[in-house]
Symmetry: C2
Subunit: 110 residues, 2 copies
């Protein structure tokens, strides 16, 4: 099965989360899985695409949403807030988060 998100016709929204990790797992893997599961259950969630991360590498996760309100609600979800706080205190040495409006897209399949 493809790991690509099945998104609808644009416009919709994307959150591009690019991160660099601190050393060691320290509960990160478990929480990351839990957050994907929880995000997937939120209203307005459309999909998520995540790359693997090599050592010292950049991690990129893009989640897709119906609206800015859906993104705001997810940002404020209580368990997600705990993860965000631990992200800053423990897991990430650096991250960037970009909220975007997807204006057009194209697909290719061999």
């Amino acid at each position: 099965m493809s790991k690509m998100a099945q998104t609808p016709q644009p416009p919709y929204y994307a959150v591009i989360f690019t991160s660099e990790r601190t050393e060691g797992d320290r509960g990160y893997g478990t929480m990351a899985d839990k957050m994907v599961e929880l995000a997937s259950a939120q209203p307005g969630f459309l999909g998520v695409e995540s790359s693997s991360r090599d050592e010292d590498g950049l991690g990129i996760t893009v989640s897709y949403w119906e609206s800015l309100d859906a993104i705001k609600n997810w940002k404020e979800h209580s368990l997600h807030r705990v993860a965000q706080d631990t992200g800053k205190s423990t897991w990430y040495s650096r991250y960037r988060l970009r909220v975007c409006k997807v204006e057009r897209d194209s697909f290719f399949e061999m």
Copy 2:
């Protein structure tokens, strides 16, 4: 040095390119490096973030641009067109390309 793109204040544009590869390199690695180098030299280019790809994994590359015109010019660049054609005939089993307007962003550094 951080592999994160140093982008200006929004708004600006992002192209999210998510792909799954066919088997074998077949010139892909060399062309991918060349395309990053060439893209970086185009007018309106702001930066690029790329994840590593595990076997059978998803590759995610996000490039950032000043305007939709800059994205259009890069799309139509003659060498980039050759790469796009070979991408469809040879390198990718599947891809999705999304053109987005970055409306806001936030950074964190430990």
